[in-house]
Amino acid sequence: MNEHVQDDLEAYALGALDPADAERLAQHLALCASCSNDAASLAEIVGTLPDTVPLREPRPALRDRLLGAATAEARQATPRRSLRWSFGAVRLSRIAFAGLAAAVIVLGAADVDAYRRMVTVAAERDAYNRTLESLREGARLWYMAGKDSFAGSGGTLYEPRADGKQPFVLFHDLPPINEGQVLTIWLVSPDSAWARAATFRPNGQDIQVVQINTEVAGFDRCAVTLDDSPSGKHGTIVMESRIAPPSTAP
């Protein structure tokens, strides 16, 4: 892919690639220091082009509008600490479920299908609890719609506002993937730099929660790729979000 990428770096810097090619190239830049350096150098040159534009004054109201929107957003982002207890409730429900499952197995009261159904229900309940928790705390939600072979599936990235709470993605209806393949969650910055956030395989259940072990603040889109390995070359984009909404959930 390197030759192809180097061939397109100037067009990328000028914003002259179509969105799909630009995203593929941005993913490569996230993994390749050499191309990333070349791209940064070109970005500096392209960054001077606005200096060739005749200067115009925006209306003074634009400044107020911008600062008003940022102030409102900052207010909404303040976490509500009084609801910290409910994450504990999620953990407790898991412990209670584990005990119940053990009892069912010991008593021989359920077959494998019943056990699977119970696992699914528990996973859905935990996912629901997590979602409810995040909504109460004013989480930011980013929905990614599946496409092509992933059409009909989707994932919502929840970014809890409260301190110390990990972001996670709640996926639904993930199709099975081939042996050896993995799914990668990417975070995309406003200037289209891609960062790997998590790698996982579908667990076969209707709903699946994947924890994000990196800082989400500062990124404004996310995507999922289907890859042949957990590192190295990226694969096809199977899910992607539009620009994340600035407001918090109600």
């Binding site: 061939d7 690639l17 500096e44 082009l49 606005p50 534009v53 115009r56 509008r65 200037d191």
Partner: protein, 183 residues
């Protein structure tokens, strides 16, 4: 360019710490240039203002992800403005690649153009761009300000895709050398 206080890097660090006054300073520093760029691309004042607001809010939210190796703060901010403006241009349902002459003659204003001429840094960049052979300059301007992809440019200009890429590459190399000579 003379160093400004606080420096851009410090402003972005304050932005990441949710300091609203840093956002105000950043806007006062680059809002006019950002608006001029968006207006040059879109040709509409309302749409250009929306892009500027969206881009600064995006920087406000995304300052934590900024990395120096991806360009200086000014280039980073203007790249967000550019991405947003071109995105809107391409999403317009009525958008069709305009004839080359139209895309090249986006609205300008003699007075403000003269004001830009007075800024030494801006004049240097304009000179570097204008010194390019016409085919290279047109290719770079139509790609950056006109929102054309390299494939569209190949069709519009009636040249192979490789020629478009070559013009971009050589044009940007020449601009780099010209700007380095003046610094």
């Amino acid at each position: 360019m003379p160093e400004q206080h606080p420096p851009d890097d410090a402003l972005l660090a304050s932005l990441a710490a949710r300091d609203l006054s840093a956002l105000a300073t950043l806007y006062d520093r680059y809002g006019r240039l950002a608006y001029s760029l968006a207006y040059r691309i879109l040709g509409e004042s309302e749409a250009a203002e929306d892009v500027v607001q969206d881009a600064f809010l995006s920087a406000w939210r995304g300052a934590g992800s900024y990395r120096r190796e991806r360009g200086n703060p000014r280039a980073w901010l203007l790249s967000i403005v550019h991405h947003r403006a071109v995105d809107i241009l391409r999403r317009k349902t009525t958008f069709r690649p305009a004839p080359l002459e139209m895309a090249e003659s986006q609205p300008s204003d003699e007075d403000t153009a003269l004001a830009a001429e007075k800024n030494v840094e801006h004049r240097t960049v304009r000179d570097a761009l204008e010194a390019l052979p016409q085919a290279q300059r047109r290719t770079i301007e139509l790609a950056y300000f006109g929102g054309y992809t390299h494939v569209e440019l190949s069709e519009l200009m009636g040249v192979p895709l490789g020629t478009v890429k070559g013009r971009m590459r050589i044009g940007l190399q020449k601009m780099r050398r010209a700007l380095e000579r003046t610094r």
